[in-house]
Protein backbone atom coordinates (compact mmCIF):
# COMPACT_ATOMS: atom_id res chain seq x y z
CA UNK A 1 0.00 0.00 0.00
CA UNK A 2 2.76 2.34 1.01
CA UNK A 3 4.82 1.44 -2.07
CA UNK A 4 1.76 2.12 -4.30
CA UNK A 5 1.32 5.54 -2.74
CA UNK A 6 5.02 6.20 -3.23
CA UNK A 7 4.81 5.15 -6.90
CA UNK A 8 1.79 7.41 -7.43
CA UNK A 9 3.54 10.30 -5.74
CA UNK A 10 6.67 9.79 -7.86
CA UNK A 11 4.53 9.49 -11.00
CA UNK A 12 2.72 12.71 -10.04
CA UNK A 13 5.99 14.51 -9.46
CA UNK A 14 7.32 13.28 -12.80
CA UNK A 15 4.17 14.47 -14.57
CA UNK A 16 4.38 17.86 -12.92
CA UNK A 17 8.08 18.06 -13.76
CA UNK A 18 7.38 17.17 -17.38
CA UNK A 19 4.61 19.75 -17.53
CA UNK A 20 6.99 22.34 -16.09
CA UNK A 21 9.69 21.50 -18.66
CA UNK A 22 7.18 21.69 -21.53
CA UNK A 23 5.85 24.99 -20.24
CA UNK A 24 9.40 26.30 -19.95
CA UNK A 25 10.18 25.28 -23.54
CA UNK A 26 7.02 26.91 -24.88
CA UNK A 27 7.66 30.06 -22.86
CA UNK A 28 11.20 30.29 -24.17
CA UNK A 29 10.04 29.75 -27.75
CA UNK A 30 7.36 32.36 -27.31
CA UNK A 31 9.90 34.87 -26.04
CA UNK A 32 12.14 34.16 -29.01
CA UNK A 33 9.38 34.39 -31.58
CA UNK A 34 7.13 37.21 -30.32
CA UNK A 35 7.48 39.39 -27.25
CA UNK A 36 4.50 38.94 -25.03
CA UNK A 37 4.77 42.20 -23.17
CA UNK A 38 4.61 45.22 -25.45
CA UNK A 39 6.83 47.97 -24.15
CA UNK A 40 7.61 51.23 -25.87
CA UNK A 41 11.18 51.98 -26.80
CA UNK A 42 11.57 55.08 -24.77
CA UNK A 43 13.99 57.73 -25.94
CA UNK A 44 16.19 59.69 -23.61
CA UNK A 45 14.94 63.27 -23.96
CA UNK A 46 17.01 64.60 -21.09
CA UNK A 47 19.26 67.57 -21.70
CA UNK A 48 19.12 71.20 -22.72
CA UNK A 49 17.29 72.20 -25.87
CA UNK A 50 17.30 75.38 -27.90
CA UNK A 51 14.99 76.53 -30.66
CA UNK A 52 16.45 78.20 -33.78
CA UNK A 53 15.38 81.86 -33.97
CA UNK A 54 14.01 81.46 -37.47
CA UNK A 55 10.49 80.15 -37.00
CA UNK A 56 7.75 82.59 -36.04
CA UNK A 57 10.25 85.24 -35.14
CA UNK A 58 7.80 88.08 -34.67
CA UNK A 59 5.85 86.14 -32.07
CA UNK A 60 8.79 84.61 -30.25
CA UNK A 61 11.24 87.49 -30.13
CA UNK A 62 9.42 90.72 -30.85
CA UNK A 63 6.15 89.70 -29.25
CA UNK A 64 2.84 89.87 -31.07
CA UNK A 65 1.37 93.11 -32.35
CA UNK A 66 -1.54 94.53 -30.43
CA UNK A 67 -4.11 93.39 -33.00
CA UNK A 68 -2.50 90.28 -34.46
CA UNK A 69 -4.82 87.34 -33.90
CA UNK A 70 -4.27 86.02 -37.41
CA UNK A 71 -4.37 82.25 -37.63
CA UNK A 72 -6.05 81.87 -34.23
CA UNK A 73 -9.38 80.02 -34.16
CA UNK A 74 -10.92 82.59 -31.80
CA UNK A 75 -14.58 82.30 -30.91
CA UNK A 76 -16.71 85.43 -30.55
CA UNK A 77 -15.98 85.35 -26.81
CA UNK A 78 -12.25 84.93 -27.43
CA UNK A 79 -12.26 87.86 -29.86
CA UNK A 80 -14.22 90.09 -27.49
CA UNK A 81 -11.74 89.34 -24.72
CA UNK A 82 -8.75 89.96 -26.99
CA UNK A 83 -10.01 93.27 -28.31
CA UNK A 84 -10.81 94.59 -24.85
CA UNK A 85 -7.59 93.40 -23.27
CA UNK A 86 -4.96 95.82 -22.03
CA UNK A 87 -1.38 94.85 -21.24
CA UNK A 88 -1.76 96.97 -18.11
CA UNK A 89 -3.76 94.11 -16.63
CA UNK A 90 -0.53 92.16 -16.22
CA UNK A 91 0.57 94.67 -13.59
CA UNK A 92 -2.15 93.46 -11.26
CA UNK A 93 -0.97 91.08 -8.55
CA UNK A 94 -3.42 88.32 -9.46
CA UNK A 95 -2.43 88.44 -13.15
CA UNK A 96 1.30 89.00 -12.96
CA UNK A 97 2.13 85.37 -13.63
CA UNK A 98 -0.51 84.77 -16.27
CA UNK A 99 2.12 84.74 -18.99
CA UNK A 100 3.65 81.62 -17.51
CA UNK A 101 1.11 79.15 -18.82
CA UNK A 102 2.04 75.87 -20.48
CA UNK A 103 1.77 77.43 -23.94
CA UNK A 104 4.95 79.41 -23.29
CA UNK A 105 6.98 76.46 -24.58
CA UNK A 106 5.69 77.33 -28.03
CA UNK A 107 6.04 81.10 -28.04
CA UNK A 108 8.73 82.20 -25.62
CA UNK A 109 12.40 82.70 -26.52
CA UNK A 110 13.45 80.07 -24.04
CA UNK A 111 15.95 77.35 -23.90
CA UNK A 112 14.50 74.47 -21.96
CA UNK A 113 15.73 71.67 -19.78
CA UNK A 114 14.23 68.21 -19.87
CA UNK A 115 15.04 65.56 -17.29
CA UNK A 116 13.49 62.38 -15.92
CA UNK A 117 12.23 61.67 -12.42
CA UNK A 118 12.87 58.12 -11.27
CA UNK A 119 11.04 56.14 -8.65
CA UNK A 120 9.29 52.93 -7.74
CA UNK A 121 10.84 49.62 -6.69
CA UNK A 122 12.93 49.38 -9.86
CA UNK A 123 13.81 53.05 -10.01
CA UNK A 124 12.14 53.40 -13.38
CA UNK A 125 11.22 56.70 -15.01
CA UNK A 126 7.96 57.88 -13.49
CA UNK A 127 7.87 61.35 -15.04
CA UNK A 128 9.53 63.67 -17.54
CA UNK A 129 10.03 67.29 -16.58
CA UNK A 130 10.25 70.42 -18.74
CA UNK A 131 11.39 73.65 -17.23
CA UNK A 132 12.55 77.06 -18.27
CA UNK A 133 12.10 79.72 -15.64
CA UNK A 134 12.62 78.97 -11.99
CA UNK A 135 9.19 80.05 -10.83
CA UNK A 136 6.91 79.26 -13.72
CA UNK A 137 5.89 75.78 -12.67
CA UNK A 138 7.24 73.76 -15.56
CA UNK A 139 5.54 70.74 -17.04
CA UNK A 140 5.72 67.40 -15.27
CA UNK A 141 4.62 64.53 -17.48
CA UNK A 142 3.64 61.58 -15.33
CA UNK A 143 4.47 58.25 -17.00
CA UNK A 144 3.35 55.94 -14.21
CA UNK A 145 -0.23 55.57 -15.36
CA UNK A 146 -1.76 57.65 -12.60
CA UNK A 147 -5.24 58.99 -13.10
CA UNK A 148 -5.99 62.72 -13.33
CA UNK A 149 -7.34 64.29 -10.14
CA UNK A 150 -10.88 65.56 -9.82
CA UNK A 151 -11.68 68.26 -12.33
CA UNK A 152 -12.76 70.45 -9.44
CA UNK A 153 -9.34 70.38 -7.86
CA UNK A 154 -7.44 73.64 -8.15
CA UNK A 155 -3.97 73.08 -9.54
CA UNK A 156 -0.84 75.13 -9.85
CA UNK A 157 0.19 76.84 -13.09
CA UNK A 158 2.12 73.67 -13.90
CA UNK A 159 -1.25 71.93 -14.49
CA UNK A 160 -1.53 68.13 -14.56
CA UNK A 161 -0.01 66.06 -17.34
CA UNK A 162 0.22 62.35 -18.11
CA UNK A 163 2.12 60.79 -20.99
CA UNK A 164 2.70 57.61 -22.93
CA UNK A 165 5.03 56.46 -25.67
CA UNK A 166 4.03 55.57 -29.19
CA UNK A 167 7.23 54.11 -30.61
CA UNK A 168 9.77 56.76 -29.69
CA UNK A 169 7.21 59.57 -29.76
CA UNK A 170 6.07 60.91 -26.40
CA UNK A 171 2.43 61.99 -26.28
CA UNK A 172 1.22 63.98 -23.28
CA UNK A 173 -2.23 65.11 -22.18
CA UNK A 174 -2.59 68.15 -19.93
CA UNK A 175 -5.63 69.09 -17.88
CA UNK A 176 -6.19 71.51 -14.98
CA UNK A 177 -4.77 74.40 -16.98
CA UNK A 178 -5.16 77.92 -15.71
CA UNK A 179 -6.39 80.68 -17.97
CA UNK A 180 -3.37 82.09 -19.80
CA UNK A 181 -2.42 83.82 -23.03
CA UNK A 182 -1.80 81.72 -26.12
CA UNK A 183 -0.65 85.01 -27.58
CA UNK A 184 0.62 87.85 -25.43
CA UNK A 185 -1.87 90.36 -26.74
CA UNK A 186 -5.08 89.11 -25.19
CA UNK A 187 -5.48 85.92 -27.24
CA UNK A 188 -6.31 83.73 -24.24
CA UNK A 189 -7.23 80.13 -23.59
CA UNK A 190 -9.60 79.33 -20.74
CA UNK A 191 -9.21 77.08 -17.71
CA UNK A 192 -11.47 74.56 -19.45
CA UNK A 193 -8.81 73.91 -22.08
CA UNK A 194 -6.93 70.69 -22.58
CA UNK A 195 -3.55 70.40 -24.22
CA UNK A 196 -2.10 67.50 -26.21
CA UNK A 197 1.66 67.72 -26.61
CA UNK A 198 3.64 65.50 -28.96
CA UNK A 199 7.41 65.21 -28.67
CA UNK A 200 9.00 63.68 -31.76
CA UNK A 201 12.74 62.99 -31.54
CA UNK A 202 14.98 62.79 -34.60
CA UNK A 203 18.45 62.28 -33.17
CA UNK A 204 19.52 65.65 -31.77
CA UNK A 205 16.39 67.33 -33.11
CA UNK A 206 13.16 67.40 -31.16
CA UNK A 207 9.92 68.48 -32.76
CA UNK A 208 7.23 69.64 -30.34
CA UNK A 209 3.61 69.87 -31.43
CA UNK A 210 1.06 71.55 -29.16
CA UNK A 211 -2.63 71.07 -29.79
CA UNK A 212 -4.81 73.26 -27.58
CA UNK A 213 -8.50 72.55 -27.32
CA UNK A 214 -10.62 75.25 -25.69
CA UNK A 215 -14.42 75.08 -25.76
CA UNK A 216 -14.69 78.69 -24.56
CA UNK A 217 -12.35 80.91 -26.56
CA UNK A 218 -11.60 78.73 -29.62
CA UNK A 219 -13.84 77.15 -32.22
CA UNK A 220 -11.23 74.61 -33.33
CA UNK A 221 -8.04 73.16 -31.89
CA UNK A 222 -5.12 75.58 -32.03
CA UNK A 223 -2.11 73.70 -33.37
CA UNK A 224 1.45 74.89 -33.15
CA UNK A 225 4.79 73.24 -33.80
CA UNK A 226 8.37 74.13 -33.01
CA UNK A 227 11.80 72.65 -33.68
CA UNK A 228 14.34 72.25 -30.90
CA UNK A 229 17.92 71.09 -31.15
CA UNK A 230 20.25 69.89 -28.42
CA UNK A 231 22.04 72.88 -26.93
CA UNK A 232 25.80 72.96 -26.82
CA UNK A 233 25.69 74.55 -23.35
CA UNK A 234 23.37 73.91 -20.43
CA UNK A 235 20.17 75.92 -20.46
CA UNK A 236 19.88 78.49 -17.72
CA UNK A 237 16.69 78.64 -15.69
CA UNK A 238 17.45 82.20 -14.61
CA UNK A 239 14.68 84.49 -15.71
CA UNK A 240 13.07 87.62 -14.33
CA UNK A 241 10.95 86.51 -11.41
CA UNK A 242 7.22 86.58 -11.50
CA UNK A 243 6.70 89.55 -9.19
CA UNK A 244 4.36 92.49 -9.15
CA UNK A 245 5.70 95.67 -10.72
CA UNK A 246 4.08 99.04 -10.24
CA UNK A 247 3.11 100.34 -13.66
CA UNK A 248 0.90 103.20 -12.62
CA UNK A 249 -2.24 101.12 -12.24
CA UNK A 250 -4.06 101.87 -9.03
CA UNK A 251 -5.00 98.98 -6.76
CA UNK A 252 -8.39 97.52 -7.58
CA UNK A 253 -8.44 98.89 -11.13
CA UNK A 254 -8.69 96.45 -14.03
CA UNK A 255 -7.39 98.09 -17.21
CA UNK A 256 -9.42 97.25 -20.31
CA UNK A 257 -10.94 98.78 -23.44
CA UNK A 258 -14.64 99.09 -24.06
CA UNK A 259 -15.89 97.52 -27.32
CA UNK A 260 -14.93 99.70 -30.25
CA UNK A 261 -12.69 101.90 -28.11
CA UNK A 262 -9.37 100.10 -28.44
CA UNK A 263 -7.08 102.49 -30.33
CA UNK A 264 -4.50 99.77 -31.04
CA UNK A 265 -6.41 97.74 -33.59
CA UNK A 266 -4.76 99.10 -36.72
CA UNK A 267 -1.14 98.00 -36.44
CA UNK A 268 -1.51 95.00 -38.71
CA UNK A 269 -2.95 97.16 -41.47
CA UNK A 270 -0.34 99.86 -41.08
CA UNK A 271 2.62 97.53 -40.96
CA UNK A 272 1.67 94.43 -42.93
CA UNK A 273 -1.27 95.41 -45.14
CA UNK A 274 -3.47 93.00 -43.22
CA UNK A 275 -7.08 94.25 -42.96
CA UNK A 276 -9.02 94.04 -39.71
CA UNK A 277 -11.23 91.19 -40.88
CA UNK A 278 -8.04 89.13 -41.06
CA UNK A 279 -6.17 90.44 -38.05
CA UNK A 280 -9.14 89.74 -35.77
CA UNK A 281 -8.56 86.03 -36.36
CA UNK A 282 -11.05 83.18 -36.52
CA UNK A 283 -10.68 79.66 -37.86
CA UNK A 284 -11.14 80.79 -41.46
CA UNK A 285 -7.85 82.70 -41.31
CA UNK A 286 -5.95 79.42 -40.85
CA UNK A 287 -6.74 78.00 -44.29
CA UNK A 288 -5.43 78.70 -47.81
CA UNK A 289 -8.87 79.69 -49.12
CA UNK A 290 -8.67 82.81 -46.98
CA UNK A 291 -5.99 84.11 -49.31
CA UNK A 292 -8.58 84.42 -52.06
CA UNK A 293 -10.49 86.83 -49.88
CA UNK A 294 -7.39 88.85 -49.09
CA UNK A 295 -6.09 88.94 -52.64
CA UNK A 296 -8.51 91.45 -54.12
CA UNK A 297 -8.09 93.92 -51.28
CA UNK A 298 -4.35 93.56 -51.32
CA UNK A 299 -3.92 94.05 -55.07
CA UNK A 300 -6.27 97.02 -54.97
CA UNK A 301 -3.87 98.69 -52.57
CA UNK A 302 -0.68 97.49 -54.20
CA UNK A 303 -1.35 96.52 -57.84
CA UNK A 304 2.29 96.40 -58.84
CA UNK A 305 4.48 96.62 -55.79
CA UNK A 306 3.91 96.39 -52.03
CA UNK A 307 4.81 99.07 -49.53
CA UNK A 308 8.41 98.99 -48.37
CA UNK A 309 9.26 97.53 -44.99
CA UNK A 310 10.27 100.15 -42.45
CA UNK A 311 9.83 98.46 -39.06
CA UNK A 312 10.55 94.95 -37.76
CA UNK A 313 12.28 94.01 -41.00
CA UNK A 314 15.59 92.46 -40.01
CA UNK A 315 16.98 89.38 -38.38
CA UNK A 316 18.99 89.52 -35.21
CA UNK A 317 21.68 91.91 -36.33
CA UNK A 318 23.91 89.12 -37.55
CA UNK A 319 23.90 87.20 -34.30
CA UNK A 320 23.12 84.02 -36.16
CA UNK A 321 26.63 84.20 -37.56
CA UNK A 322 27.99 83.46 -34.12
CA UNK A 323 25.32 80.87 -33.49
CA UNK A 324 23.98 82.78 -30.51
CA UNK A 325 20.36 82.81 -29.56
CA UNK A 326 19.41 86.34 -28.57
CA UNK A 327 17.93 86.62 -25.12
CA UNK A 328 15.47 89.41 -24.40
CA UNK A 329 16.73 92.05 -22.03
CA UNK A 330 13.39 92.54 -20.31
CA UNK A 331 10.63 90.30 -19.06
CA UNK A 332 8.05 89.13 -21.58
CA UNK A 333 5.48 91.32 -19.88
CA UNK A 334 7.63 94.37 -20.29
CA UNK A 335 8.46 93.37 -23.85
CA UNK A 336 4.84 92.84 -24.67
CA UNK A 337 3.98 96.17 -23.14
CA UNK A 338 6.52 97.99 -25.24
CA UNK A 339 4.12 98.38 -28.09
CA UNK A 340 1.10 98.68 -25.84
CA UNK A 341 0.78 102.10 -24.28
CA UNK A 342 -0.80 102.14 -20.86
CA UNK A 343 -4.51 101.94 -21.23
CA UNK A 344 -6.92 104.43 -19.75
CA UNK A 345 -9.65 102.62 -17.94
Amino acid sequence: MASNQLRLRVRGMAARGMAFVIALIFTSLALLVEPQVVVAQEVDLSGSWTSPPTNNVLEVYEGPFTDDWTGMPLSAAGRALAQSWSAGALAEPERTCQLYGQWKYMTFPFEIKIWPSNGGPTDQIVAWNLQKAEDEGGMKIWMDGRKPPSKYLDYSRGAFTTGHWKGSTLIAETTHLKMAPARNNGGYYSDRSTLTSTFIPHGDTLIMVFDLNDPVYFTQPYVYSRVWTRATRPASTAWPPCIVNYEGVAEGVVPFYLPGKNPLLNQMMQLFHVPEYASEGGAQTMYPAFRDKLKADYLKLYPTFPKQCTQYCTNFRGQQAAGNIPQPSASPAAKSGRRKPQSKP
Binding site: G71, M72, G167, V227
Partner: protein, 247 residues
Protein backbone atom coordinates in the same frame (compact mmCIF):
# COMPACT_ATOMS: atom_id res chain seq x y z
CA UNK B 1 10.73 47.76 -17.31
CA UNK B 2 11.09 50.61 -19.72
CA UNK B 3 14.53 50.78 -21.19
CA UNK B 4 15.97 54.11 -22.23
CA UNK B 5 17.72 53.95 -25.52
CA UNK B 6 19.89 56.54 -27.11
CA UNK B 7 17.69 56.31 -30.13
CA UNK B 8 14.88 54.04 -31.09
CA UNK B 9 14.68 54.98 -34.69
CA UNK B 10 15.94 52.86 -37.47
CA UNK B 11 16.41 54.06 -40.96
CA UNK B 12 15.04 52.37 -43.99
CA UNK B 13 17.86 53.64 -46.09
CA UNK B 14 17.66 53.88 -49.80
CA UNK B 15 20.35 51.22 -50.05
CA UNK B 16 17.97 48.63 -48.67
CA UNK B 17 15.12 49.50 -50.93
CA UNK B 18 14.77 47.41 -53.98
CA UNK B 19 17.41 44.90 -53.00
CA UNK B 20 16.54 41.24 -53.33
CA UNK B 21 14.13 40.21 -50.65
CA UNK B 22 13.75 43.68 -49.17
CA UNK B 23 10.29 45.16 -49.34
CA UNK B 24 9.72 48.21 -51.51
CA UNK B 25 9.51 51.64 -49.87
CA UNK B 26 5.78 51.57 -50.36
CA UNK B 27 5.43 48.15 -48.74
CA UNK B 28 7.76 49.08 -45.89
CA UNK B 29 6.07 52.41 -45.14
CA UNK B 30 5.53 52.69 -41.36
CA UNK B 31 2.99 55.47 -41.91
CA UNK B 32 0.64 56.36 -44.72
CA UNK B 33 1.18 59.90 -45.96
CA UNK B 34 -0.87 59.52 -49.12
CA UNK B 35 -4.00 61.54 -49.74
CA UNK B 36 -4.98 65.19 -49.74
CA UNK B 37 -3.59 67.63 -47.19
CA UNK B 38 -4.28 71.29 -46.51
CA UNK B 39 -1.97 73.90 -44.98
CA UNK B 40 -2.94 74.90 -41.46
CA UNK B 41 -1.51 78.40 -41.13
CA UNK B 42 -1.77 79.27 -37.48
CA UNK B 43 0.11 82.40 -36.51
CA UNK B 44 3.51 80.92 -37.31
CA UNK B 45 4.86 83.49 -39.81
CA UNK B 46 1.32 84.19 -40.99
CA UNK B 47 2.26 87.66 -42.29
CA UNK B 48 5.01 86.18 -44.47
CA UNK B 49 2.83 83.43 -45.86
CA UNK B 50 -0.75 84.60 -46.24
CA UNK B 51 0.08 87.99 -47.78
CA UNK B 52 3.06 89.08 -49.82
CA UNK B 53 5.75 90.15 -47.34
CA UNK B 54 6.89 93.74 -47.45
CA UNK B 55 9.91 94.41 -49.68
CA UNK B 56 12.98 94.41 -47.49
CA UNK B 57 11.42 92.28 -44.75
CA UNK B 58 13.66 89.34 -43.89
CA UNK B 59 12.84 89.00 -40.18
CA UNK B 60 13.79 85.54 -38.99
CA UNK B 61 15.93 84.68 -42.02
CA UNK B 62 19.66 84.49 -41.19
CA UNK B 63 20.50 86.40 -44.34
CA UNK B 64 24.06 87.46 -45.16
CA UNK B 65 24.82 90.95 -46.51
CA UNK B 66 25.13 89.64 -50.08
CA UNK B 67 21.63 88.23 -49.70
CA UNK B 68 20.38 91.66 -48.71
CA UNK B 69 21.65 93.04 -51.99
CA UNK B 70 19.85 90.37 -53.97
CA UNK B 71 16.66 90.95 -51.99
CA UNK B 72 16.83 94.70 -52.62
CA UNK B 73 16.73 94.03 -56.35
CA UNK B 74 13.45 92.10 -56.16
CA UNK B 75 11.16 93.05 -59.01
CA UNK B 76 8.08 90.84 -59.49
CA UNK B 77 7.29 92.38 -62.88
CA UNK B 78 10.77 91.56 -64.11
CA UNK B 79 10.54 87.99 -62.82
CA UNK B 80 7.21 87.54 -64.58
CA UNK B 81 8.58 88.93 -67.84
CA UNK B 82 11.50 86.53 -67.59
CA UNK B 83 9.17 83.58 -67.03
CA UNK B 84 10.56 83.10 -63.52
CA UNK B 85 7.40 83.66 -61.52
CA UNK B 86 7.92 80.27 -59.80
CA UNK B 87 11.01 81.46 -57.92
CA UNK B 88 9.12 81.43 -54.61
CA UNK B 89 7.71 77.94 -55.23
CA UNK B 90 10.99 75.98 -55.13
CA UNK B 91 11.58 73.11 -52.69
CA UNK B 92 13.07 75.35 -49.96
CA UNK B 93 9.87 77.43 -49.89
CA UNK B 94 7.03 75.38 -51.33
CA UNK B 95 5.85 73.79 -48.09
CA UNK B 96 5.33 77.25 -46.56
CA UNK B 97 3.05 78.37 -49.37
CA UNK B 98 -0.59 78.10 -48.19
CA UNK B 99 -1.81 75.25 -50.35
CA UNK B 100 -3.18 71.77 -50.77
CA UNK B 101 -0.97 68.73 -51.25
CA UNK B 102 -1.81 65.55 -53.08
CA UNK B 103 0.53 62.74 -52.09
CA UNK B 104 0.56 59.49 -54.06
CA UNK B 105 2.96 56.68 -54.89
CA UNK B 106 4.24 57.20 -58.43
CA UNK B 107 5.75 53.75 -58.19
CA UNK B 108 6.76 51.47 -55.34
CA UNK B 109 9.98 53.43 -54.74
CA UNK B 110 8.88 56.99 -55.49
CA UNK B 111 6.51 59.17 -53.51
CA UNK B 112 4.95 62.03 -55.47
CA UNK B 113 3.86 65.32 -53.86
CA UNK B 114 1.77 67.67 -55.98
CA UNK B 115 0.76 71.17 -54.90
CA UNK B 116 -2.21 73.13 -56.14
CA UNK B 117 -0.46 76.44 -55.46
CA UNK B 118 2.01 76.89 -58.29
CA UNK B 119 1.18 73.40 -59.63
CA UNK B 120 4.51 71.99 -58.54
CA UNK B 121 5.50 68.32 -58.41
CA UNK B 122 8.06 66.91 -56.01
CA UNK B 123 9.38 63.35 -56.37
CA UNK B 124 10.84 61.65 -53.30
CA UNK B 125 13.15 58.89 -54.51
CA UNK B 126 13.83 55.96 -52.19
CA UNK B 127 16.27 54.52 -54.73
CA UNK B 128 18.67 57.29 -55.70
CA UNK B 129 19.80 57.73 -59.26
CA UNK B 130 23.15 59.37 -59.94
CA UNK B 131 22.06 60.37 -63.43
CA UNK B 132 18.88 62.03 -62.19
CA UNK B 133 20.79 63.80 -59.44
CA UNK B 134 23.03 65.36 -62.10
CA UNK B 135 20.23 66.46 -64.40
CA UNK B 136 19.69 70.19 -65.04
CA UNK B 137 18.67 72.11 -61.94
CA UNK B 138 14.97 72.62 -61.31
CA UNK B 139 12.76 74.44 -58.80
CA UNK B 140 12.10 71.18 -56.97
CA UNK B 141 15.60 69.73 -57.43
CA UNK B 142 16.35 66.10 -56.72
CA UNK B 143 15.07 64.49 -53.53
CA UNK B 144 16.28 61.34 -51.79
CA UNK B 145 13.90 59.80 -49.25
CA UNK B 146 14.16 57.33 -46.42
CA UNK B 147 11.85 56.05 -43.73
CA UNK B 148 12.62 56.42 -40.05
CA UNK B 149 11.01 53.65 -38.04
CA UNK B 150 9.83 53.92 -34.48
CA UNK B 151 9.53 50.54 -32.84
CA UNK B 152 7.78 49.00 -29.93
CA UNK B 153 8.81 45.72 -28.37
CA UNK B 154 9.85 43.94 -25.20
CA UNK B 155 13.45 44.97 -25.33
CA UNK B 156 14.42 41.80 -27.23
CA UNK B 157 15.48 42.54 -30.77
CA UNK B 158 14.43 45.56 -32.78
CA UNK B 159 10.73 45.29 -31.94
CA UNK B 160 7.81 45.87 -34.21
CA UNK B 161 7.63 49.11 -36.22
CA UNK B 162 4.57 50.92 -34.94
CA UNK B 163 5.20 54.40 -36.21
CA UNK B 164 7.64 56.41 -38.23
CA UNK B 165 8.51 59.44 -40.25
CA UNK B 166 9.78 60.37 -43.66
CA UNK B 167 13.13 62.06 -44.07
CA UNK B 168 13.82 63.83 -47.37
CA UNK B 169 17.02 65.48 -48.56
CA UNK B 170 16.87 67.72 -51.60
CA UNK B 171 19.60 69.30 -53.71
CA UNK B 172 20.32 70.18 -57.37
CA UNK B 173 18.06 73.21 -57.01
CA UNK B 174 17.60 76.21 -59.23
CA UNK B 175 18.15 79.44 -57.27
CA UNK B 176 14.96 81.06 -56.00
CA UNK B 177 13.24 82.85 -53.13
CA UNK B 178 12.60 81.71 -49.57
CA UNK B 179 9.83 84.29 -49.39
CA UNK B 180 7.72 85.91 -52.04
CA UNK B 181 9.49 89.26 -51.52
CA UNK B 182 12.78 88.11 -52.98
CA UNK B 183 14.67 86.77 -49.93
CA UNK B 184 17.08 84.62 -51.93
CA UNK B 185 18.53 81.15 -51.81
CA UNK B 186 21.28 80.02 -54.14
CA UNK B 187 21.62 76.93 -56.29
CA UNK B 188 24.02 75.55 -53.68
CA UNK B 189 21.13 75.21 -51.27
CA UNK B 190 20.12 71.89 -49.80
CA UNK B 191 16.98 71.10 -47.86
CA UNK B 192 16.48 68.43 -45.22
CA UNK B 193 12.90 67.74 -44.17
CA UNK B 194 11.07 65.50 -41.73
CA UNK B 195 7.46 64.56 -42.41
CA UNK B 196 5.87 63.55 -39.10
CA UNK B 197 2.24 62.44 -38.94
CA UNK B 198 0.42 63.08 -35.66
CA UNK B 199 -3.20 63.06 -34.65
CA UNK B 200 -5.08 66.23 -33.79
CA UNK B 201 -7.10 66.31 -30.57
CA UNK B 202 -10.33 66.36 -32.59
CA UNK B 203 -9.30 63.17 -34.39
CA UNK B 204 -8.12 64.78 -37.63
CA UNK B 205 -4.84 63.67 -39.12
CA UNK B 206 -2.00 66.16 -38.99
CA UNK B 207 1.37 66.21 -40.70
CA UNK B 208 4.21 68.35 -39.41
CA UNK B 209 6.86 69.21 -42.00
CA UNK B 210 10.09 70.45 -40.44
CA UNK B 211 12.53 72.02 -42.90
CA UNK B 212 16.20 72.81 -42.52
CA UNK B 213 17.36 74.97 -45.43
CA UNK B 214 21.13 75.28 -45.71
CA UNK B 215 22.68 77.76 -48.11
CA UNK B 216 26.42 78.53 -47.85
CA UNK B 217 26.02 81.51 -50.19
CA UNK B 218 23.25 83.61 -48.66
CA UNK B 219 22.58 82.21 -45.17
CA UNK B 220 24.63 82.42 -41.99
CA UNK B 221 22.95 79.36 -40.54
CA UNK B 222 20.14 76.96 -41.50
CA UNK B 223 16.70 78.48 -41.95
CA UNK B 224 14.59 76.17 -39.78
CA UNK B 225 10.79 76.18 -39.96
CA UNK B 226 7.81 73.94 -39.33
CA UNK B 227 4.63 73.75 -41.37
CA UNK B 228 1.42 72.03 -40.38
CA UNK B 229 -0.96 70.22 -42.70
CA UNK B 230 -4.35 68.73 -41.92
CA UNK B 231 -5.57 65.59 -43.69
CA UNK B 232 -8.60 65.96 -45.94
CA UNK B 233 -11.08 63.21 -46.75
CA UNK B 234 -11.29 64.17 -50.41
CA UNK B 235 -10.01 66.47 -53.14
CA UNK B 236 -12.50 69.17 -52.14
CA UNK B 237 -10.66 72.46 -51.98
CA UNK B 238 -8.05 71.40 -54.52
CA UNK B 239 -7.67 74.51 -56.65
CA UNK B 240 -4.71 74.54 -59.04
CA UNK B 241 -3.28 77.99 -59.62
CA UNK B 242 -0.30 79.09 -61.64
CA UNK B 243 2.80 80.56 -60.03
CA UNK B 244 2.56 84.25 -59.25
CA UNK B 245 5.51 86.55 -58.67
CA UNK B 246 3.45 89.20 -56.92
CA UNK B 247 0.78 87.33 -54.90
Amino acid sequence: MLVSLATATAVYAQGQAGTRGAPSAQAAAPVDLTGYWESLVTDEDWVYRMVTPRPGDYAGVPLKPNGLQVMAAWDPAKDTAAGEQCKSYGAPAIMRVPEHLHITWQDAQTLKVETDAGEQVRLFNFVPSTAAAQAPRTWQGYSVAEWEFQRQGAGRGPGKAVWGALKVTTSNLKAGYLRKNGVPYSEKTSVMEYYDPVQESNGDGLMIVSSFVTDPVYLFSPFVTTDNFVKLPSAAGWKPSACSAMW
